[in-house]
């Protein structure tokens, strides 16, 4: 099994026929994401965390912040690493063991969207240049699958990072030493929001649910930042997009993304 998407032909043709009439199987508009629920601080022992429900897809992200060695060529920058994993309890077809290619793609796309937006100013995460920096790890775990993990993981990681508190370390006796009681927010410069769209026939739909996910010919994930610029993109699936469709998807991602950014900001405010 190469993905968690399994669907019978009847349902697939029903989805397609409804789209021909401009309708979706769950009654949403074509450019309408599912309801997004964000619970900040789901894991109080982590430095930051969020549980996100995107319809029936459920993801938990925990952020760990700790001193680390910098990469040899970037001693003046902290580390940011974002991962994603499908837990075997999230769907009957998920197996234990090394991650499947589609899970590796998921983790990399989610990481890239946040990294390339420069959401976190890693130049401020240096303890001692070339010797010790602060590492920020955002680990996503998928708890329940109902399509579109890209966006669910992205929102969970973004919400968790926005509300993370980082401890402070000083460089004492050639090692990082924790300064008790000094916690600050991470240096955040923008809020990236990814919007994933599926293509079924000639129809573009935002935030495909599990059944739509299994029926897609192609998909595209576009991440935009707070200024409305596009900062990362990934196309997937076996069909292609026309140039017009790509332009249309870019426009949708910025427009829909700005609404979702407000939902994430609300969750952040609610946690303060």
């Amino acid at each position: 099994m190469t993905s968690v998407s399994v669907i019978d032909e009847l349902k697939k043709s029903q989805i397609f026929e409804l789209l021909e009439q401009g309708k979706r199987v769950d009654g949403r508009a074509l450019d309408e994401p599912r309801e997004i629920k964000i619970e900040i601080n789901a894991i109080p022992k982590a430095n930051g965390s969020a549980r996100v429900y995107l319809g029936d897809t459920e993801v938990i992200c925990g952020v760990k912040i700790q001193p680390d060695r910098p990469f040899p060529d970037t001693g003046d920058r902290g580390l940011f690493i974002c991962t994603a994993e499908l837990l075997p309890l999230s769907h009957p077809t998920v197996e234990t063991g090394p991650p499947q290619p589609y899970v590796i793609e998921l983790a990399r796309v989610v990481d890239r969207g946040i990294r390339e937006s420069h959401m976190i100013d890693v130049s401020q995460l240096v303890i001692e240049k070339d010797k010790s920096v602060i590492g920020v790890f955002a680990d996503n775990v998928v708890v329940d699958f109902d399509g579109n993990l890209f966006d669910a993981c992205s929102y969970a990681a973004t919400a968790a990072l926005l509300t993370s508190k980082t401890p402070k370390w000083d460089w004492v006796d050639d090692k990082p030493t924790l300064v008790e009681g000094e916690e600050t927010a991470l240096p955040i410069s923008t809020i990236p929001v990814s919007v994933t769209m599926g293509k079924i026939g000639n129809h573009i739909i935002v935030d495909p649910n599990g059944d739509e996910w299994a029926s897609m010919d192609a998909r595209i994930t576009i991440t935009s930042d707070s200024d409305g610029n596009i900062c990362a993109l990934q196309k997937g699936g076996i069909d292609g997009f026309t140039q017009d469709e790509i332009n249309q998807c870019g426009e949708i991602s910025v427009r829909v993304g700005s609404k979702i950014r407000e939902i994430i900001k609300e969750a952040q405010k609610g946690s303060q």
Partner: protein
Amino acid sequence: MGGRDATMVLLDENGVRCDGRKIDETRRIMIRAGGLKNADGSAYIEFGDNKILVGVFGPRDVHPKHMSNTDTGILRVRYHMEPFSVGERKNPAPSRREIEISKVIKEALEPAVMLEKFPRTAVDVFIEVLQADGGTRCAALTAASVALADAGIPMRDMVAAVASGKVADTIILDVNNEEDQAGQADMPIGYMPSLNKITLLQLDGVLTPDEYKKCVDVGVKGCKIVYELQKKALKDKYFGNGGD
């Protein structure tokens, strides 16, 4: 988190423990049956600061096929901790500790599940520790029993679990993380109350023969408290709140 504090008083002169509990008191326990949509059965437990999610699939076809048994079904258990569940970020790959705990939990559950009714199939139990705070294997075993029941798999009994231990020369119920790190002994116990059978038992630390007996006794009594909460979680789901 996880560090030892040499100055911490584990048990004061009034018999009050470092987190304010009495010696025979468990931490706050909340068990929810169900919650996951894709799993055949599921449960969530908060046991003190532990937060653990369990999903069950099956009975279903066995892959790889050579693992299947023509006489009986098989039980497979994976205990796994999230990278953010502990103080320092944990490598997501399974550690030796997680593999051992998976095995002891599997062997603790096996006598409870009527696997012989489902030859050639597998029941998979996936345990995900979202936040750990000492005593995860007992909390996980407790939740796994509820998830198996929630999946409608025939069972002889549910396994309830809690650790007893020795702190400041006193036998106590439900060892927390600090007591585990700095205490004298830790004895996780899994027990089937209706069948009067202990199916999980481990011990770290030194006990006299008398303390050993007392420790088992305290643990079994604790399991009976946990058992009532397991039954309540299932009743709440299937018969509405408090449905007696």
